[in-house]
């Protein structure tokens, strides 16, 4: 009997939760704020869904409702990606050993 691909995705999901669990516990408490801003930035990888939604159909479909929701999602995710990574970078720049 063949295994449903969903099961593979579920396996990846559950294993990733475990990876996340161990990786996050090893994050030093002084970097918890950058941790939040960077997790925020990477969760904006949801932009891949937004891109697929915006590019769906032929050129004349560009302004169909579902494409417009895609465009809106792109703007939101892009704010997050740039904002998230840059503000994280700005914070991490300050965590330098002095002298």
């Amino acid at each position: 009997m063949e295994i449903d691909p969903f099961i593979f995705r579920l396996s990846i999901f559950i294993l990733s939760i475990f990876v996340g669990y161990y990786v996050v516990w090893s994050v030093t408490p002084s970097l918890h704020t950058p941790l939040m801003s960077v997790t925020n930035a990477i969760s904006s990888v949801i932009i891949v869904g937004a891109i697929i939604a915006s590019l769906a159909g032929s050129s004349k479909d560009v302004f169909e409702v579902s494409n417009i929701f895609g465009f809106l999602a792109i703007i939101l995710a892009a704010v997050n990606i740039f904002g998230g990574f840059l503000v994280t970078q700005r914070m991490l720049q300050m965590y330098k050993k002095k002298k």
Partner: protein
């Protein structure tokens, strides 16, 4: 690009995201970690463009919107003051939530673009996944908006509670589940929209009863939700990068919530159900007037600290409000010139989000190896001459160790009272967010410095 090849690239970007978080285990590797994260994001975006392979007019719009969103994001990132990080993160969470809702809506309206079937005939698993993604995304969105308004001070930080609140939340939660079930049977778009709307409402109702001091838990929790929403969409799109990221972010937020709850010795449900401190406040306020406090000025404080051999600084949210971190750094520099050993003690829930104080101190150029967490430094108070408490309150309250009646009993606190003398900078004797009186004010070895945290620190610098 073939589906298999792009799936492999998504896996790579997922791994890069794991490395991005891994980098945060120490400040030295953290910047490199952030670059891994950026690389992962770039790969995911480029691969998506290539695998869709539609380079028509739509692509131009996509790029334009990407640039618009990106510029707004970059502008905010460069302009935001570090004291406003909690609001910023809450605001960003709301965007992830809303983006998840929008993607789910597009997928529902045009399932063929995502290989999910056709309208009115969407695959069962996809329907469940997208409605869960939309529901969690909507809760994240409206919840984060409320958190943002509370942190920003636009909305009062005090808990908003009303009768039957928890019952309503439970009812709405169950009705979302029921609607998802009916959606799977009927594929009706009205039901889909109802799920989204009710979820927006749940997000609001979930966060309004939670008070200002519990914001660290709320932000971490919403962080976790935004991850689960992303994972839900990841399952819908069958995209490994999103599934991995969603799981990482979801567990990260959950761990942070756990750490914050532990820092307050409260259970997660206790925080979510909200309304802490509203009742106990009155009794604590009444017996306050009789007790004498020792009142000092900047010269006294400067004298004490100059002649100390070691000083521990305990910063709290009040320092952030007063923007006193730079003045504090100057004071420490002056003390160091006098040969005083200075370190900083940070309580897990100091500030309005995890690690908030650390960022502010880093901004003021305090080297991170002088900053210690509660467990690392708590034994040192006994050997320290002066503890300088600036803007912290409840996290230093010895009552948490001695009085089982107190609402904060059992909460881990900094053993500030064990140091030879305590300087407590505070504007008045008013109780902290927990609404309880701080026993520390009336100790013999405590000198109260009634002033704004920044002004007092600046005056001390002058008299040093």
């Amino acid at each position: 690009m073939s589906a298999n090849l792009s799936a492999l690239f998504y896996l790579i970007s997922g791994i890069l995201f794991i490395l991005a978080l891994r980098g945060l285990s120490s400040p030295e590797t953290s910047r490199q970690g952030n670059y891994f994260g950026i690389a992962g994001m770039l790969i995911a975006i480029i691969v998506t463009f290539l695998s869709v392979g539609n380079f028509g007019i739509g692509l131009i719009y996509v790029l334009i919107f990407l640039v618009i969103g990106g510029s707004i994001g970059a502008f905010i990132a460069f302009r935001i003051p570090m004291t406003a990080m909690p609001e910023l993160v809450a605001g960003f969470h709301s965007l992830v939530g809303l983006a998840a809702v929008f993607v789910a809506i597009s997928a529902f309206l045009k399932p063929e673009a995502f290989n999910l079937g056709t309208i009115g005939n969407i695959k069962l698993a996809s329907l469940i996944e997208m409605s869960l993604g939309a529901a969690i995304g909507a809760i994240t969105f409206s919840g984060s908006i409320i958190a943002f308004l509370k942190l920003r001070g636009i909305m009062s930080g005090s808990p908003i509670t009303f009768k039957g609140q928890h019952f309503i939340n439970l009812f709405l939660g169950l009705s979302i589940i029921a609607l998802i079930y009916y959606l799977c049977i009927s594929q009706s778009s009205n039901i889909f929209w109802s799920i989204v709307l009710i979820s927006f409402l749940v997000g609001v109702l979930l966060i309004i009863p939670i008070g200002g001091a519990d914001m660290p838990v709320v932000i971490s929790m919403l962080n976790s939700y935004s991850g689960w929403a992303a994972a839900g969409i990841g399952f819908t799109l069958e995209n490994t990068a999103l599934i991995i990221t969603g799981a990482l972010v979801g567990s990260s937020g959950a761990i942070l919530s756990y750490i914050m709850c532990k820092g307050m010795n409260r259970s997660f449900f206790n925080v979510i159900l909200g309304g802490w401190g509203a009742n106990e406040q009155t009794s604590a306020l009444q017996n306050k007037e009789q007790k004498p406090v020792k009142n000092g000025n900047a010269d006294d404080a400067a004298f004490l600290m100059k002649n100390a051999s070691s000083v521990i600084i305990v910063p709290g949210y009040g320092m952030a409000v007063a923007q006193a971190q730079h003045a504090l750094r100057e004071m420490v520099d002056a003390l160091k010139k006098n040969g005083v050993k200075v370190s900083y003690a940070i309580h897990p829930v100091a500030g309005r989000m995890p690690g908030h104080m650390n960022v502010l101190l880093a901004e003021a150029n305090v080297p991170y190896d002088e900053v210690f967490e509660l467990e690392e430094i708590n034994n040192d108070f006994a050997n320290c001459d002066v503890a300088y408490v600036i803007g912290a309150n409840d996290v230093t309250n010895p009552v948490a160790k001695s009085d089982p009646q107190s609402p904060i009993y059992g909460m881990p606190v900094l053993d500030v009272e064990k140091s030879k003398s305590v300087l407590f900078v505070k504007r008045s004797l008013s109780p902290g967010y927990a609404g309880i009186d701080n026993d520390l004010f009336y100790r013999d070895n405590t000198l109260m410095l009634f002033a704004d945290a920044k002004k007092m620190t600046e005056e001390i610098v002058k008299s040093l």
